[in-house]
Amino acid sequence: MKYLQLVWSAMFRRKTRTVFTLLSVLAAFLLFGLLDSVRSAFANAASSVAGVDRLVTVSKISFTMSLPKSLLSGIAALPGVAKVTYANWFGGIYQDPKDFFANEAVADNYFDLYPEWQLSQAERTAFHNTRTGAVVGESLARKYNWKLGDKIPLQATIFPQKSGANTWTFDLVGIYRVSNPKQKSQEAIFFFNWDYFDEARAFGNGNVGWYITQVSDRTLAQQVADAVDSLSVNSDHETKTQTEQAFNAAFVSQYGDIGLIVGAIMGAVFFTLILLTGNTMAQAVRERVPELAVLKTIGFSNHSVLVLLLVESVLLIVLGGAIGLLLAGVVVDAVRAAVGEAVPMTRVGAAIWLRGVGLMVLIGLIVGALPARRGMRLRIVDALAGR
């Protein structure tokens, strides 16, 4: 600690240069915070589902293709199957296409397979009894200020009604909550009654988008998945069944390898940062050669000078980086408050900070290595003589 004043003073020897360097480090780590927040959100989306005992069955050709509803009884009769339900993507728009959220038609028993979603018995009964009933997550309801009893119109983008109408109007009868913070993104879905959807849609009646199967024993998951797929083998609707976790991971990967994209961007940013701050540190040490020689003259060892310069370099990056990450936290919170779960971003929490600080220290050491080595190796008499 007693050397901190010395390091701090050296760092701000040229205030303007240091401030500009800090700003560039800040910008790099602000970007890191934002991108890592998005990357974490996608990673969580793939892994945050609670049920590893649920299987998703979709068409083997593409999950956008329908499956016959007749498979339901076959799946339900398989050994190891506890419950089975089904759903279909609707893709409706509420008010503005920019404010898109997921909306699906689901079977009456859909919520029985998702015990981690808290929905009261009264709301379940209302959903069962109301043909146009809809249930939404609490985050989504809060975002649009929806209350039970509200009528919510969605504009169809895929499924017009038989009557030719494109507007589907639903009655909000339930609001579910997800208590696990990592699964909060699941509160951004709008569910409505299958019967209303299937009877009123202009085409596709009798087909479902996917099946969800709950196995009685999670160790039987693969066995049940194989059995489900064998039901339609060599038919025109062959299926692909996998755990919900694997399905979500595959679904997220449709967006591309987010980790790779974020990594590539951050790699370029940090490479530039290393060049920039490396040059600054080299210049700062070059200017201070006589001062470093004085430190050595009065008894600072080569090792002490090396450590002082490395600490200065790390401190410079950590200071700018910490401010950048703090700002990223503020921005992410503001974005989440403004648009809710529509933009996939996790809070800038401990995990992102840990990765960020690790990067800061690493970059500080890389940036400071060569100048510190130069400071360590300088010969006092040559440095004092200006050679």
Binding site: K2, Y3, Q5, L6, S9, A10, F12, R13, P290, E291, A293, V294, L295, K296, T297, I298, G299, F300, S301, N302, H303, I380, V381, L384
Partner: protein, 231 residues
């Protein structure tokens, strides 16, 4: 008095590419504890090289340097750094203060290498600044001080860890006549009242008059010594 500095057959050869330059040639020298020695000679005579070797900033090509009974020419680089921190104070021509630190912080620098508490370091630095007459300028940065004042801060830094030996390389070379006289008087006081052994390189015969002895170097060899009557 016993010899604090004993130099035997000291040679220093610099290599510049293929060229070998012998800067010091078999120098023999004893400096008594409590002496104030001026080292004079033309440019390139080896004054600063001899001073650097005595101060442990450089190592000899041949010969030995014993200071306070310790062969410093045999010390490793890190041991030499530790030795310098407790045994020698340095005063340079251009003061070499750290511009971003206040006078007090500059004076405190050698004490960072000790186990003293922050409060003790602060007190010792204040005492050293008082000794050089700059207690009221402790908070000023070097850029806010005159040349003479900066050199006095440098002297305070040199004495703050209470070394036996002070080595001064042209300490008045960058000062006007009056400031130079003040600095030299201060060095004289440190020698007389505090028993510091001082070795001072200078070109200026008037500066040398403040010392007790003057040694002349020429082409790497000691050529003459003069002793002055006590002032």
């Amino acid at each position: 008095m016993s010899a604090l500095v004993e130099i035997r057959n000291l040679s220093k050869i610099y290599e510049r590419g293929r060229q070998k330059i012998e800067v010091l040639h078999h120098v023999q020298l004893d400096i008594e504890a409590g002496d104030f020695m001026a080292l004079m000679g033309p440019s390139g005579s080896g004054k600063t090289t001899l001073l650097n070797l005595i101060g442990g900033l450089d190592s000899p090509t041949d010969g030995s340097i014993t200071i306070g009974g310790q062969r410093i020419d045999r010390l490793s680089e890190s041991a030499l750094a530790r030795w310098r921190s407790t045994n020698v104070g340095f005063v340079f021509q251009f003061y070499n203060l750290l511009p971003m630190l206040s006078a007090r912080r500059n004076v405190e620098l050698p004490l960072l290498l000790t186990r003293l508490s922050a409060a003790q370091r602060k007190r010792n630095a204040a005492v050293a600044l008082q000794l050089v007459g700059l207690a009221d300028r402790a908070a000023h940065k070097p850029g806010e001080l005159s040349g003479g004042q900066q050199q006095r801060v440098a002297i305070a830094r040199a004495i703050v860890s209470d070394p036996t030996l002070l080595v001064c390389d042209e300490p008045t070379g960058d000062l006007d006549r009056q400031s130079a006289a003040e600095v030299l008087t201060l060095l004289q006081q440190l020698n007389r009242d505090h028993g510091k052994t001082i070795i001072m390189v200078t070109h200026d015969p008037k500066a040398a008059e403040f010392a007790k002895h003057t040694l002349q170097l020429d082409k790497g060899s000691l050529v003459a010594a003069a002793e002055r009557a006590p002032a």
